[in-house]
Symmetry: C2
Amino acid sequence: MQRELALQVFEALSSGVRLDVFRLLVRAGKEGRVAGEISDALDIPPTNLSFHLKGLTHCGLLSVEQEGRYLRYRANIPLMLDTIAYLTENCCADSPDECAELRRGASSAAPFLPPLDPAAQKCRIS
Amino acid sequence: MQRELALQVFEALSSGVRLDVFRLLVRAGKEGRVAGEISDALDIPPTNLSFHLKGLTHCGLLSVEQEGRYLRYRANIPLMLDTIAYLTENCCADSPDECAELRRGASSAAPFLPPLDPAAQKCRIS
DNA sequence: ACAATGCTTCAAGATTTGTTGAAGTGTTGA
DNA sequence: TCAACACTTCAACAAATCTTGAAGCATTGT
C-alpha cells in the first residue's frame, strides 16, 4: 500500500454520499447492488450518484460488473483493511508496551485486533 | 460510533498534509510531537500546518496538550480503529461464508483480523 | 427498426476547501 | 518590563469538489 492509494481511499470516503453508498454495499455483501437500487435506497439523483460511484470505483473501493443494461457494484473490503494497515505501520515508536496500552483503549474496535504477540518484530497496534 | 463522527474522521484523513501528519504522530507514539517539530519534519509552513492540525484535532483524531509555549500533539489510534468497525458493521449480508472468503482476500491486513468465530452473531469480516 | 430503459458523460454554476502573509495571544527568559 | 518565541487566528484569494439538467450510449423488448 502506497501513500497515493491510501489518500484516494480516504478521499473517496470523505463525502456523506459516498460513505453511505460504501456502507450499503458492505452490508449487501457479494450480491452487491445495481446502480438504480442504490439510487432508490439512498434517494440520490442518478446523475449525482454516478459522479460518486466513479470516485469510489476509480480507487478500487468498488468493483463494477455489467449485467445487460444494468451495472452492479460491489464493495472491496480488503482494500479498506489494507488502508488501515498502512495507516498504522510502525506505530507506537516500536514499543510493545505502548501498543498493549493502546489495545486496552480500543473498545468497540476490539474484535478487529489480532492476539497480542510479545515476540512481534513490528508493532501494529498489537 | 455515529455517522457524523466517521465522516469527520475520513474528511480529516482525505488531505495529503493531514495524512502525513497523522502517520507521523502514529509512529511517534505517546511521546507525540510539538507543532514546530511537525512543521520541520514535513516542511509545512506553520500557518498552513495549524489549519490542518485544527481539522485533525476537532474530530478527535489528535489530542493536544500545552507545554509552556509549545503545543504537543498525539494520535488517537483507537478512534481510527473504531471508525473501521463502523464501516464494516453488518457486512456480507450477515453470511459467515462470505466473510470467511473475504478474510482470505485481506492479505496485508491479515494481522488486523480476529480469529474466525463460526458462532459469531454478527459478521464483521470475521 | 424503434421506442423505452439504465446509466453515464458533459457543461455550468454553486459551494467547499486549501494556502498564504499579516496580525494576534500567550509564554519564556533577560 | 520587554523582546523573542511558539503557535494560532484572520482575511483574502486560489483551487478543488459538488450538484443539476441536458445530451449521449448501450441494451432490451416489441
